[in-house]
């Protein structure tokens, strides 16, 4: 009896959670004005590729995707490297000021990013970074949360391995690459997946630092489409295309998302 209730709930809730994505995908094959759209979206009367062809036509959408790739891939790679090394440093190395620096890092996590956006806007205006990739890449090159995750992970790993390598005459950098890094693959992958999602999906920072349409990432481009296209199908085609990278990352790295959420919260 309990099982039956569980399965019914699972199917009903599962359907509710998938419904918006079904609407998006099926909607992207419909050629219809927003106002005329039938509430029974899922009957695909005349599927068409028109919407996809439309968004690809002027090249702007492709440019947005390209911008998103640039402002995502560089920070993800850099975050993985820097968070791995710094996590290692704070977990395993002894150096003066280690605890103080880490304590300051952790205190800064409490500052909401919205507080930094105004001074950063002023700074970036002075740097000439408005409407450039710099404003979205440079501040994201490493992250406190990622350092924290790697540190937590490495603290649970015994020191014996490292010590054995030291005795064998390996230096710091060799130990990091040969001992620590291979062990940290799961946590570094977690940092990478989180960084990917937050950069790819970010709307707030691009909205502040970018005003030229050709510099927009796909989030901001889609937001501008939501405002001006009256065509539901075109919007949904854009949403579907921008969703594909997220979905693929999610599909392959699902485990790391859930592990990361658990690690960052409760331990």
């Amino acid at each position: 009896m309990k099982k039956v209730i569980s399965y019914i709930a699972l199917i009903v809730l599962g359907f509710c959670f998938l419904l918006p994505f079904l609407i998006m995908i099926l909607g992207s094959f419909k050629d219809v004005q927003f106002a005329q759209l039938d509430p029974l979206f899922w009957i695909p009367d005349h599927p068409t590729m028109k919407n996809y062809l439309y968004i690809m036509r002027d090249g702007m959408f492709i440019r947005w995707i390209f911008n998103s790739v640039v402002i995502t891939v560089i920070p993800v790679a850099s975050q993985m490297i820097f968070c791995a090394v710094l996590g290692y440093i704070f977990a395993k190395k002894q150096f003066p000021g280690r605890e103080t620096v880490f304590w300051i890092f952790m205190a800064v996590i409490m500052i909401p990013q919205q507080l930094l956006i105004i001074p950063k806007f002023i700074m970036f205006s002075n740097f000439g970074w408005i409407n450039t990739y710099w404003a979205l890449i440079v501040p994201e090159l490493w992250g406190i949360m990622g350092v924290f995750l790697v540190r937590q992970f490495l603290q649970n790993i015994p020191n014996d391995l490292e010590e054995a390598a030291y005795i064998d005459g390996a230096n710091d950098i060799q130990i990091f690459f040969k001992v620590i890094l291979p062990l940290s693959v799961p946590v570094v992958a977690t940092v990478g997946t989180f960084s990917f999602i937050s950069n790819w999906n970010d709307l707030f920072q691009p909205l502040i630092y970018l005003t030229q349409e050709k510099m927009f990432p796909v989030t901001l481009g889609l937001a501008s489409m939501l405002g001006k296209e009256g065509n539901f199908g075109i919007e949904m085609a854009g949403s579907t295309v921008s969703f594909i990278p997220t979905f693929l990352i999610f599909l392959f790295f699902q485990r790391y998302f859930t592990e990361g959420i658990q690690m960052s919260g409760l331990k």
Binding site: K2, S6, Y7, L10, G14, F17, L18, P20, F21, M24, G27, F34, A35, P39, F82, L86, I89, K93, F95, V101, F102, M106, I109, M110, I111, P112, Q114, L115, I117, I118, P119, F121, I122, M123, V138, L141, W142, F148, N171, D172, N201, L203, F204, L207, T219, A223, L226, F232, M236, S242, F243, T246, F247, F250, F257, T258, I261, Q262, G265, L266
Partner: protein, 305 residues
Amino acid sequence: MTSKKSKLPLRERVKREWNRNAIVYIFLIPVLGHFIIFQIYPFLLSFYLTFMDWKVIGDPEFVGLKHWKYFLSDTLAWKAIWNTVKFSVYYIVPTMALGLILALIINSGVKSARFFKGVFFLPVVTSFVIIAGIWGWLFRGTEAGMINYLLSFVGIEPQLFLANSSQALAVLAGLSIFKVAGSTMIYYFAGLQSIDRQLYEAAQIDGASAFKIFWTITFPLLKPIHFYVAITTTIGSFQIFDSAYLLTGGGPNYATTTIVYYLYEQGFTSLNLSYAAVLSYVLFFIILVISLIQRKYLGQESNNY
């Protein structure tokens, strides 16, 4: 160890320290520089700005507490705070309840639990822009809107939703609940898995009903998780912006002007950067208070570090 080293000549000591900690100096110094430039300096600059008149063009001018005083009398700012509190009320308990329900189902030994975990988690990784696009269509305030269409079956008149000032905020909260429940589920799922099976077995032997087991064992044992989720969800709700920007533009009649939306509008539409800095500090203080409450009640064990 240290005393032995100090007898060595300086050059040798530096060399040893470098061999031992080269990686620290190579990586930590640039990162600290970055940290000061992009975190500490803006934090301080923002505070400085609250005492200045900073119009994008021209030199900043010291105005003392002018912007802070204006904040105290700014009814729209207080409305934004009130809207955000209301949003939290709509959002926090349903998110927790839905997260817990999803976790309970996943944890009940059903088949393909992993697949459904993925399904429930999917909105968490999807951008607000995509979900808002679909949500805007579902909650269209016409008879052809999907939700209105469904409501017509139970005899409810078409609602305006996003165009109705008493409904818009709740619709936005619904979007956030849908988006976030999956991560709440993960916390609860971890919590459920850590509960000792023997407790359940003992209760079953005593003949307790499933409902009673839930209320006397499961629910109370999840207390640290309830608290943690409540705090993080509250902090998240005070930072809500994307959905208001995408779907309502703060309206109708300022009903969905949240703190961050108002901050954005003041700073980047009206270009009152100094006043926006004041608002950002108000947000900071609210979040700080919530975080301190978390510290006080959760102690070190479930803290962030």
